[in-house]
Point group: C3
């Protein structure tokens, strides 16, 4: 895969956005500053830690590269101080979250494929990279994870992961593939938000 500077910056934006979502949840639950930072860390890096453990990349990136945890903690502390103004930028946060979804799915799927994980498993790990942090966030604050309850979120990630795996199988493994797929996931997620698409719930 690739490790270019632009990619790192994009990755860290994803970390910051997901950390902000975790920190917001922590503020709402009246956690203290440490708790807010911890939930931010888990939301930003929990999915990637699970992926790295599953592909045998130890220590996981969250512990091997200081820029990841520091970005997560700085973003969380910023939310701790600034949260009263965050409601005004809620639309921006949702857009950034969609960007994070696209990016984490793309990098997660490609890392799994590059580590030799077969296609079905790589799709699952790519999706888990993107949704794992949100799962950790919700479990830590005592909620049933929102990703399991409503909204087209994980399914968009899974669709993107399948597309990436197909492109990878056709020999498209470079940065263009990654960015295009991430952009597509971003776009579909934004449309799903706008049109309130959701998955069905079982008949009673």
């Amino acid at each position: 895969m690739t490790g270019g500077y632009g990619l790192l910056v994009a990755d860290l934006i994803g970390v910051a956005v997901f950390a902000a979502s975790g920190a917001s949840a922590g503020v709402v639950k009246r956690l203290d500053l440490f708790g807010v930072a911890f939930v931010g860390f888990a939301a930003a890096l929990g999915g990637g830690i699970l992926r790295d453990l599953a592909i045998g990349a130890v220590p996981p990136l969250a512990f091997a590269d200081w820029r990841y945890p520091v970005t997560a903690v700085v973003a969380s502390v910023a939310v701790f101080w600034l949260h009263p103004t965050l409601n005004r930028v809620r639309r921006t946060v949702l857009l950034l979250d969609a960007a994070g979804l696209g990016l984490f799915t793309a990098t997660g799927t490609l890392k799994a494929l590059d580590a030799g994980v077969p296609p079905v498993g790589a799709c699952l790990l790519g999706m888990l990279t993107a949704i794992g942090g949100g799962l950790a966030r919700d479990l830590l604050v005592g909620e049933i994870p929102v990703v399991l309850r409503r909204d087209l979120y994980a399914v968009v990630a899974l669709g993107g992961a399948i597309l990436i795996t197909i492109l990878h199988g056709l020999g498209h493994t470079g940065l263009v593939t990654l960015v295009s797929a991430a952009a597509l996931i971003f776009g579909v997620r934004v449309i799903a938000l706008h049109r309130h698409w959701s998955a069905p719930i079982a008949a009673p």
Copy 2:
């Protein structure tokens, strides 16, 4: 250990049954189709993922062999559509769950022993393989895990794991050992269900 076709079929039956238990919990909690499938996946494969990470078998079987996740998801989606009729077959589901308990304990313990884990650790990992999925299922839907609260369930698995470890130490490592131990765990679990055996609770 062994990888025969009969064993694979038996293993996948265990996956399907545990997935069904997870999917049922998801339907009860009004999760959407994705949530139901995800909890089914976690219930079926969470214990095995933990075991594989602990013995260094990466990527875990749940990601390395597509038949495992596909079986879990198909069983979960089936429950999503068919759940109103499931109450009528509740006795069958409990029997299949007991079969899954026996099988997952037996394969989990033997895999740990074969990976060089010492006896006490292998017994614990065998039991965790069998109960880990149920733990994940209950935590995801916001419940204190049922396996910690009542019923002789995990203790039956632990007893079976100890028996398997002793047999393994005596040189019995083949398919017959595995199937006999799984059958014994199944039998004791069915008796425990029938007679309402349970572990003690501390005096107030």
Copy 3:
């Protein structure tokens, strides 16, 4: 690092204390004997399991060395039977818990550094070794983890981990460093308890 007999004894005291904290939580929640022992096991060994997975030390110590799980289970069962008298020794339990915090932070940080984890990651893993068990305990019994909500607990561990990492960088890697750092964490934690120090909570 070091594996002396004195260190093992100290480590097992930490395991017993953390197991007792988990078992107490299980008793309060009316779990059965198995549930009490399981939560005790998770509280004592969950943090170390996460650390060992993250540094690639498989199988984790909790499964590789029988003295760790046996100590956790014996301590948990003792609490199950003796819990009515535990309130009288609550001050002692808090002191022992502070000792466990210091010791687990120190050993966790040094193990991560010795495994080649860079400084920031090693500090995080050292802290996670110390607080991970408490997180697992609270999640298993359906509570938002107390370490995220109040009290100077994790921050003391993190400060100790940073100190240990600096000392390690200066070439101090022996038993004296470990014990001194653990003692310092213990002391600060006891003062924090005594003076009711706590981290800030966000303005509403």
